[in-house]
């Protein structure tokens, strides 16, 4: 096997993996604040892409205003979701809230299908379409953008959680809500913020992916699934583990398709995932104590 092919598999795996990673990030942020797995996370990614297509096409805006508008709208959707469906049932059984998020995801999908249609859409790439050659592997500029923006989001989140007062307050909530409340942190507001941030991160993912992967009203299901796998693999609760988990799954799939069999590539990725889980139940980068849910 030549170096070019191996590099090609790697690049392709990292690109796809970033999509999983960005979805997984959103899962983690909400999980940390609420202990809930938000099944509507994939829909945030879908909304980002679909709305960008809509604003760029139907409203005839340029790509960048459209992208900005799409990301802000999706963030707003995240906030609304929290206000309307999560806050009223605060303190309810976690399983019930999970079903509510499933309901929200079906609802969002239905609305998008009704108003934006059932077709697949594409978005023009941000800069440049010509692939670059790198040791025999062909890389399109958008792939590099995706990797760069994923890194940027990660660094941004890290700064936010470590340096800002809001970020620290959110971290505090994730460790112990009651204690956070006692020191004067508004837990309600932090939960809302967590939905806003994960919708923001998800929609950024959706927007930067669409030029490569295309989008339609139902892409959220698959992304949600892989994103969930990624954040469990990386260790639930650890945003960087989640992003790394996404990259690992993407690369596993791509190497599976390249070296073993394209028919069984997903099975291959999930078999490895099961093995890792059985050996290290808290995920690759997870701490053992996070498992006390």
């Amino acid at each position: 096997m030549d170096l070019g092919s191996i590099l090609q598999y790697l690049v392709s795996g990292l690109t796809v993996g970033s999509t999983y990673g960005l979805t997984a990030l959103g899962f983690t942020i909400i999980f940390n604040a609420t202990r809930v797995i938000n099944f509507a996370q994939g829909e945030f990614v879908m909304l980002g892409g679909m709305l960008a297509v809509f604003f760029a096409g139907a409203l005839n805006l340029g790509v960048f205003p459209a992208v900005l508008l799409a990301v802000s709208c999706t963030t707003l959707v995240g906030v609304c979701m929290e206000r309307l469906t999560i806050r009223p049932v605060q303190g309810a059984n976690v399983v019930n809230i999970i079903i509510i998020t499933i309901g929200v995801s079906i609802f969002i999908r239905g609305v998008v299908m009704l108003f934006l249609g059932k077709d697949t859409f594409s978005l023009p790439p941000f800069f440049g379409t010509e692939a670059l050659e790198f040791f025999g592997a062909m890389i399109i500029p958008q792939s590099i953008w995706i990797l760069l923006i994923t890194m940027l989001v990660l660094v941004g989140l890290r700064t936010y959680f470590n340096k800002t007062i809001f970020g620290k307050a959110m971290l505090a909530c994730s460790f112990e809500q009651k204690a956070a409340h006692l020191v004067g942190i508004s837990v309600d507001r932090m939960i809302m913020l967590s939905f806003a941030i994960s919708a923001l991160v998800g929609s950024i993912g959706g927007v930067i992916l669409t030029p490569i992967t295309l989008t339609s009203y139902d892409v959220g299901i698959m992304l949600g699934l892989k994103g969930f796998a990624a954040c469990i693999l990386g260790g639930l609760g650890n945003p960087f583990g989640a992003a790394a988990g996404g990259l690992i799954i993407g690369v596993l799939e791509s190497f599976g398709a390249g070296f073993i069999s394209s028919a069984y590539k997903d099975a291959f990725a999930f078999i490895i995932l099961l093995v890792i889980l059985f050996v290290k139940p808290s995920g690759i980068f997870g701490r053992a104590d996070i498992e006390r849910v």
């Binding site: 030549d2 092919s5 090609q8 598999y9 690049v11 392709s12 795996g13 690109t15 796809v16 999509t19 299908m113 059932k118 077709d119 697949t120 859409f121 594409s122 692939a131 062909m138 399109i140 992916l209 490569i212 992967t213 295309l214 339609s216 139902d218 892409v219 698959m222 791509s254 190497f255 398709a257 390249g258 069999s261 394209s262 028919a263 590539k265 997903d266």
Partner: protein
């Protein structure tokens, strides 16, 4: 716990339905995937059926009777298709059925129609629907065999020897793959690579890299949107100059839009509906196709797709059979469907027989190349 049970009783009581009424109408039932993954097929099919119902009734119905087409959406789900078929047969008591949209859903409802002895005209491509022949089951789209034959004939003319295939892992891709694996060696070509991708996959560079390493003369891709568009883009990204053939599964404008300039130069077999303006004026299908396109586009304000044509053919074949036998009894419709000869439809000219319940051959396709974001016929 007893309260829970009370709820159960109440819910069962709510199941009480509305009774369907029967009158002096001809009832045709359709199971269509209007939503879900196959909606790109199902929506134009549903639209076409709605349009036909109005057109036929405006011009006096069938045998003077009013036509009622009852359409149920199966959401591209097998279970719902079976329930919908059951509902058409038992509650609505239809005289003939149309559907399903996908091969999987058609195969799932075949036994319902066969058991009830009601003819069914499918709008799905797979050969398994009519081979072996089931007396009650017909289909309108051209078979994959016809499409593959056209592609391989073209490839042979170009002197290609080594063929790579990449197919999607759903019913459509599976059916295409089976025929390709059979016909490629049969026509004296060598299959050097056999790759698969998932219907929701977003990057196929790994598969294409593997194909590139086998050094084929041509690649044949079998799938429906969006996969093939991604493959076309990945091929451009990898700067593969190996010719790429697509299937008739992407015979829609949408594919060209999605693939953008990566679609330039791709080859595919097309039904004449997609290239109606380009076919010779004396072709028997020409006027019919232009009329259908004009009607459809003025009514629904969206571009026509060849998939809606499958529904047109299904409904009009049933109408033809009813008028031939002057009877709308299921048994008579079936018998007469089998006798239809030289019927001009959107997909081609149908010649049915007890051995052939599709009635089309490979001449129902033309080979086309995508040039300047449009199709151009390369061989009639």
């Amino acid at each position: 716990m007893r309260k829970g049970l009370l709820v159960l009783v109440v819910m069962l009581a709510i199941l009480m339905p509305v009774k369907a009424s029967a009158g002096d109408t001809i009832k045709i039932g359709a199971v269509v995937s209007v939503t879900g993954p196959a909606s790109f097929l199902g929506e134009p099919e549903r639209n076409t059926l709605v349009m036909l119902q109005d057109q036929i009734n405006d011009s006096g119905g069938i045998l003077g009777k009013k036509l009622e087409i009852i359409i149920y959406d199966d959401e591209t789900e097998v279970n719902k298709a079976v329930l919908a078929a059951d509902r058409l047969i038992r509650r609505d008591r239809v005289q003939a059925g149309i559907g399903g949209t996908t091969s999987g859903n058609t195969l799932a409802i075949i036994s319902n129609f066969t058991r009830a002895e009601i003819p069914l005209v499918s709008m799905a491509a797979a050969e398994r629907i009519v081979d072996p022949v089931n007396p009650w089951i017909f289909k309108t789209p051209q078979s994959d065999r016809h499409a593959v034959t056209r592609i391989l004939d073209h490839a042979k003319d170009q002197g290609y020897k080594r063929i790579a295939i990449i197919t999607v892992s759903d019913g459509f891709g599976q059916a295409g793959r089976e025929v390709l694996r059979e016909l490629v060696p049969e026509m004296g070509l060598t299959m050097v690579s056999d790759e698969i991708y998932g219907p929701r996959d977003t990057d196929m560079t790994s598969q294409l890299t593997r194909i590139r390493n086998q050094n084929p003369d041509a690649i044949i891709c079998w799938g429906t949107n969006p996969g093939p568009a991604v493959i076309a883009r990945n091929r451009q990204q990898l700067r593969l100059d190996i010719p790429l053939y697509m299937s008739h599964g992407v015979a829609s404008r949408r594919f060209i839009e999605l693939a953008g300039n990566a679609s330039e130069g791709l080859l595919l077999p097309l039904g004449r509906l997609s290239v109606a303006e380009q076919i010779p004026d004396d072709h028997p299908q020409k006027q019919l196709l232009l009329d259908y396109i004009a009607d459809y586009e003025s009514r629904f304000n969206t571009p026509v797709s060849s998939f809606g044509g499958y529904a047109w053919d299904a409904m009009m074949l049933i109408k033809e059979a009813i008028e031939m036998g002057e009877s709308a009894e299921p048994q008579d419709i079936r018998d007469n469907l089998e006798k239809i000869q030289g019927f001009v439809g959107t997909g081609g000219i149908f010649n049915m027989s007890p051995e052939d319940h599709n009635g089309l051959d490979e001449t129902s396709f033309v080979m086309a190349r995508i040039v300047d974001q449009d199709w151009e016929i390369v061989s009639e």
